[in-house]
């Protein structure tokens, strides 16, 4: 009953897996799950209760730097070496340590993925910055993705903090309904990650993070944005102080009046399913968030000088050309404290080589 070749088993598994209806590749999540907790190797908590916190949000592209991966159509790479990943993570950690945030919201962070040589990037940042605690919610998990050489993947969203984190939960967002069942099974499963921030004597401070769908052939992106706002509203309505941030994959309201909303020159994908450079139908998708919450970069500040607040480009040889990354609160951001770390000249850090997104930083008031 042992076997000559792997070839005997793969077709059998492939044939029976859909019939069996079981989660052979462990890609599924519950609608509501506990988040995964992390702790730095060395914990040094700040001694005094602060009046405000420095908060940073960054889509860090799984420590891939500016390696051209297949999915953004600039290259064909699927996998990185451990040396490449550790080099990129060291550079990212250096910027984080230099900014020295009290809270860091990150998207596209890998914890157990073949493409990033199985480097646990949440633990790496904790162990190489002053941050002490983290919670993690996977948005893409599979023992094996049989496409483009991706293989094993576990990638998602995390919230890292100098201060202890209390109750922490992963809330599932809807899958993309227009994808077929097989694609949905292996595809990203978006979510909202929330955690209770235990800062000072306060127990009513909550942090939310998300990463909305990038491609929106059927409007799922809007469902994700609205779902994210519903979670913010829930905390606001319960009287909590809440901050939510992430990569919402759409442009601020009124962008069309001051900047392009389609046909970005860095978008070179030709497969219509993966074209993500036309936001012309999404002009009001963030309006409710801007109406109900304060933003790290106020809308008028953005509209006055949009280029200074762009956070994304897929072209490593170009420059940031659209804003996709945000932070909102029902509290107060310190006026004029929000900035986008685009370069040495704008924000003080050369972030273009580190990710296809630039980080956003803001000072957030948390005094009782």
């Amino acid at each position: 009953m042992y076997h000559e070749s792997i070839s005997r088993w793969f077709p059998i598994v492939a044939l029976l897996w859909p019939l069996a209806g079981c989660d052979l590749f462990h890609t599924s999540f519950e609608d509501v799950e506990d988040a995964v907790r992390y702790r730095a190797a060395v914990v040094e908590e700040p001694s005094a209760a602060p009046d405000s916190l420095r908060v940073m949000n960054w889509n860090m592209k799984f420590g891939a730097g500016r390696i051209d991966f297949f999915f953004d159509c600039h290259g064909t790479r699927s996998l990185m070496t451990a040396e490449e990943v550790r080099g990129h993570m060291a550079d990212i950690s250096e910027v984080v340590a230099s900014v020295d945030p009290d809270l860091l919201l990150i998207q596209e962070v890998d914890v157990e993925s073949k493409r990033s040589a199985y480097v646990d990037q949440v633990q790496f940042i904790l162990d190489n910055t002053p941050l002490n605690y983290a919670v993690y919610a996977s948005q893409w998990r599979a023992d094996y993705v049989p496409s483009d050489g991706i293989g094993r993947v576990n990638s998602g969203t995390a919230i890292l903090s100098k201060y202890p984190l209390g109750a922490s939960t992963r809330y599932a967002l809807p899958a993309v309904p227009s994808y077929d069942a097989l694609k949905r099974y292996f595809y990203l499963q978006r979510n909202v990650l929330e955690t209770q921030l235990l800062v000072g004597a306060r127990e009513d401070v909550w942090i939310l993070a998300t990463h909305a769908e990038a491609y929106s052939p059927d409007g799922t992106k809007r469902v994700h944005i609205d779902g994210f706002k519903e979670h913010l509203d829930r905390h606001r309505d319960q009287g909590h102080l809440v901050l939510g941030g992430g990569d919402l994959n759409t442009l601020p309201p009124q962008t069309g009046s001051v900047a392009p909303v389609a046909d970005f020159p860095d978008s070179v994908c030709t497969d219509e399913e993966f074209i993500a450079d036309d936001y012309s139908e999404e002009s009001d998708w963030l309006q409710a968030l801007y109406d109900d919450y304060e933003t790290a970069i106020p809308l008028q500040t953005y509209l006055d000088d949009p280029q200074a607040h762009y956070t994304h480009t897929t072209d490593k040889d170009g420059f940031w050309n659209r804003k996709l990354d945000y932070m909102f609160t029902n509290g107060v951001f310190v006026p004029s404290s929000g900035e986008t770390l685009q370069s040495v000249d704008i924000g003080g850090h050369e972030t273009m080589p580190l990710s296809d997104h630039a980080p956003v930083v803001v000072q957030w008031e948390v005094a009782p």
Binding site: Y2, W9, P11, I12, T76, S147
Partner: protein, 265 residues
């Protein structure tokens, strides 16, 4: 799956007596030191084709995969007397064309499209010893090794999934070791059973914190021998392993249909 297994068991129990029911071999098992009788051929839908030859030799090859991963196996019986049989099995394979096909963009791209696949010569060798508890009950043990040479430029990554990693580790590290224990035999009438425990010892990649990794596979299965020509197999494979990519456990369903012809017993 449980319902399907139940149906197979029930039908096997009530299936009317036939010439097949008098068969003494254990469900056409390929994995004992027993050989197919000379002139007997068996082909599985997913399993290999086997041909019994004169001179205590059996040839094995998989018809579906032969042209993508050219290979040929032979099992020689070295001893058969009393309750004991001893055989060795040797399989030479060249998986390079298959790996090149699997290196592609999009769905089915098991390997990245830019992978440089080396020329891999793989030799798998087993020694099998089988003890006949009764005429239709077998206990078998095996020791094996996979030896491989990869020639030419290579950027071939490991395939980090249970079963595949265990069987492809030698392509990267040069060798891997295997051992197994199994029982096979008639359960009742035309229903045969099997239970195998296999251990894979896998040398760790360079830079790994460990010297060795391992995988253990437990495979219970039931085979309903419908006639001298047809058999249906259903079962499961429980896999637990400590790999370079972490500890993993899986349960996989198994199914096969076998057609045979020629002399039996």
């Amino acid at each position: 799956m449980i319902r399907a297994l139940t149906i197979v068991v029930v039908i096997g129990l009530i299936w009317p007596s036939s010439a097949a029911a008098e068969s003494t071999r254990s469900a056409w098992s390929a994995d004992t030191a027993d050989l197919l009788p000379a002139g007997r051929t068996e082909v599985g839908l997913f399993g290999p084709a086997r041909v019994g030859l004169q001179g205590d030799v059996e040839l094995q090859a998989h018809p579906l995969w032969f042209f993508l991963a050219p290979h040929m196996g032979a099992k020689w019986r070295h001893h058969s007397g009393g309750s004991w049989s001893v055989a060795s099995r040797h399989t030479l394979s060249y998986p390079t064309p298959l790996l090149s096909v699997l290196s592609r963009e999009g769905t089915g791209g098991v390997l990245p499209v830019e992978t440089e696949v080396p020329h891999i010569i793989n030799l798998t060798q087993d020694i099998l010893a089988t003890y006949a508890l009764r005429e239709d009950q077998r206990l078998s043990a095996r020791l094996g090794a996979r030896l491989a040479a990869a020639l030419g430029e290579s950027t071939l990554p490991t395939i980090d999934v249970p079963l595949a990693y265990s069987r492809g580790a030698a392509w990267h590290e040069g060798f891997a070791l295997e051992a197994g224990l199994s029982w096979s035999g008639r359960v009742v009438a035309t229903l045969f059973g099997g239970l195998a425990l296999d251990l894979f010892l896998l040398p760790a990649p360079e830079g790994s914190a460990d010297d060795w990794h391992h995988a253990v596979e437990l495979t219970p299965q039931l085979t309903w021998r419908i006639s001298d020509s047809w058999a249906l197999m259903a079962g499961a494979k429980f896999v637990q392993g400590s790999y370079p990519f972490g500890e993993q456990s899986h349960v996989l369903p198994l199914f096969d249909v076998t057609y045979g012809w020629g002399a039996d017993d």
